[in-house]
Symmetry: C2
Subunit: 388 residues, 2 copies
């Protein structure tokens, strides 16, 4: 197991309220494909290329704690670049690939504190590259979620494209992916994770996104939302396909209550917000998948974070609106698509390819928590191939 | 001009927070098609039928002030039914056609206070019948709205169907209308007028829906919403079709502000809410119109109320998402579709047909306020044809 100090590439994704960091640490051995690690390289026809074996690591920081991130990079000595390790001049330009809006905000800070440049990578390019990488290279990555059950989906590599990638960050982007590097942002909505946390912050005393999300577990949205049954006196309104427990109008029960904001439980408010937003995203995503004839909808982005109820609501939304014909799919490393994609963009800096060791991949099913953070403190065993 | 006491039919729509009443008052003359009022009847081939000439009136009441509505019905002596006027027994069953959820809630109250029965008419049937009636019978009814300009649309009767009817009440129903009595609820969203007022009530000190809506006029949503330009440092992100002034994430600017709810202006909150909800409805409506190949989208329901900024936001949403290919249309009597439709359903109670006097129709263009309530205190001259 290599020291993390041997890490080479460490792209950043800086957007909204979180900074994501993906970095690679070697196992301490700089192997080439002509070394003992023959099987891997040979199978890919990569003789003569440098191969670094190691792990991909995932880390995140709140944007307002940008200095923690900088300290982390310094403490891990992530500043040793690949080019330095491979005998290039120590004065070689040290670059961090970064994407997301923050890539435009923090270049001066990184230059000042770490003496390195932030190199902007296009956000959409990175998201798609990250998603394509995970879907093709990592087994047990994509899964469906329904009634508390996670089920991994095996995707035939030849049948991956086209698919709809729905990235739920502060806002939501819906991207039709037709192949490697071939994609188009076809839709989106401004009602996303930032809306959940923004409205949640105004409506509750929660101090952060995670606290608000956690609260929703214990909440009951029926206190806040008007259900079909509330309107039609408990009857299902089956003629129009609405059952009595469906939400007829989000936040509508508040109207006739003789109550103020402080009289409502924050957990109920959080649950109503989460259902409103998740359901809406599920619906708009399905309508776009339908429009372009896409059979797979992959939901990713920080809003999901492996949170069971969020995934469940999105999945139920897609199931409801598609009458069971479409299924929502999620990614285990959903929050790191952009950072992973900017990792891929090191290509121009000596990085050539990334192969995941399927056989020794971390996080077998048994290790994953059933709910909550699926993508924290995990690493993926892999090899980095360097061009000569 | 007839006394309103001569009114005959007065259906109700009771849903969510408002009760809508459409009633007919005669001009004081009970003419048949063989009377002097020849031109009207003859042109319609209605010889031998009873014709009542008069006006359709529109009124509304807050649901919690249901007693005001009952007093109004009593004061206008709306209890004189058509059958009584035409010599039927005074003890004939007196019926009010009612639709909406309230039709299930108030039958006992109406029986007790007025001695009359509420006869439930199917809500969706009524909405569609009301819309079809307005679109076919009333000139200068449907209009587009853009940049503060209202433009009436002439719809060829032979080319009316199919269209998408989007009824924005507390929740939103999207109905594909294929012909008279032929329709299907194809979609909807729980994010509607009830969400605007429910969230608005929690977030501001507003006492009612109209006050909240009024506030939005003076608001600036940029204080609350994260715009594309806020993320990308003022640059347009044209690659993905987003201009810097587009909303990237509703309510997201709140996240990084060191402020509490009380530090925000209610008008800014109201404006953000209105934009979020209107834009979302516009988007989902367009996607459904596209799905079913419908070229017209008609928006109606109490959320709109002729409110300029609401219509503008919906219209901009449809324009944006359709890249200018689809246009949002609105109805002058939008808030009364259900009540109008239940008026139509008197058919089984001696009511046969309703013809609008196009030539003497009320509310010529010049009388309409440019903004605000387009459908208040208006009446439509018309004739009611009674079956023998």
């Amino acid at each position: 197991m290599g020291k993390e100090a041997d890490a080479t590439f460490f792209p950043l994704k800086v957007k909204g309220s979180l900074i994501k960091l993906v970095y690679f640490s070697t196992n301490g051995v700089d192997s080439s494909s002509s070394s003992s690690n023959e099987s891997l390289a040979a199978s890919n026809g990569d003789r003569g290329r440098h191969v670094l074996e190691g792990k991909l690591h995932f880390a995140k920081f709140e944007t307002e704690k940008i200095n923690d991130c900088i300290d982390f990079i310094r403490s891990k000595q992530l500043l040793l670049t690949g080019s330095q390790q491979h005998g290039a001049s120590g004065s070689a330009k040290c670059v961090i690939k970064a994407t997301g809006g923050g890539a435009y905000k923090f270049p001066d800070l990184f230059k000042e504190k770490l003496g390195i440049s932030l190199d902007k990578a296009d956000e959409m390019d990175c998201l798609v590259a990250g998603s394509n990488f995970l879907l093709k290279a990592v087994q047990r990555e994509a899964f469906t979620y329904m009634d508390g059950q996670r089920e991994f989906v095996k995707i035939d590599h030849d049948d991956l494209y086209p698919y709809l990638l729905v990235n739920i960050g502060s806002g939501v982007s819906m991207i039709k992916v037709d192949g490697p590097g071939k994609f188009e942002r076809v839709s989106g909505t401004s009602v996303g994770g930032g809306t959940f946390w923004g409205l949640g912050k105004l409506l509750t005393k929660c101090k952060n996104f995670d606290e608000l999300l956690e609260l929703s577990h214990q909440g009951n949205n029926r206190v806040i939302d008007m259900l079909v049954g509330d309107i039609y006196g408990g009857m299902d309104y089956t003629k129009i396909g609405l059952i009595s427990t469906a939400i007829a109008s989000s936040f509508s029960k508040v109207i006739s209550d003789d109550k103020e904001l402080k009289d409502y439980k924050p957990e109920d408010i959080s649950r109503s917000l989460l259902r409103m937003i998740s359901n809406n995203i599920g619906q708009i995503s399905y309508l776009n998948a339908l429009r372009f004839g896409l059979k797979r909808i992959i939901f990713a982005g920080f809003f999901i974070r492996g949170h069971a109820y969020t995934m469940d609501t999105i999945a139920v939304g897609v199931h409801f609106w598609s009458k069971g014909e479409a299924k929502a799919m999620f990614l285990k490393h959903e929050g790191f698509l952009g950072a992973l994609g900017s990792f891929m963009s090191y290509e121009k800096h000596g990085f050539d390819d990334l192969k995941v060791h399927q056989s020794v991949q971390q996080s077998p099913a048994g290790d994953d928590p059933p709910n909550g953070e699926l993508n924290e403190n995990q690493s993926i065993d892999c090899s980095v191939y360097l061009s000569q």
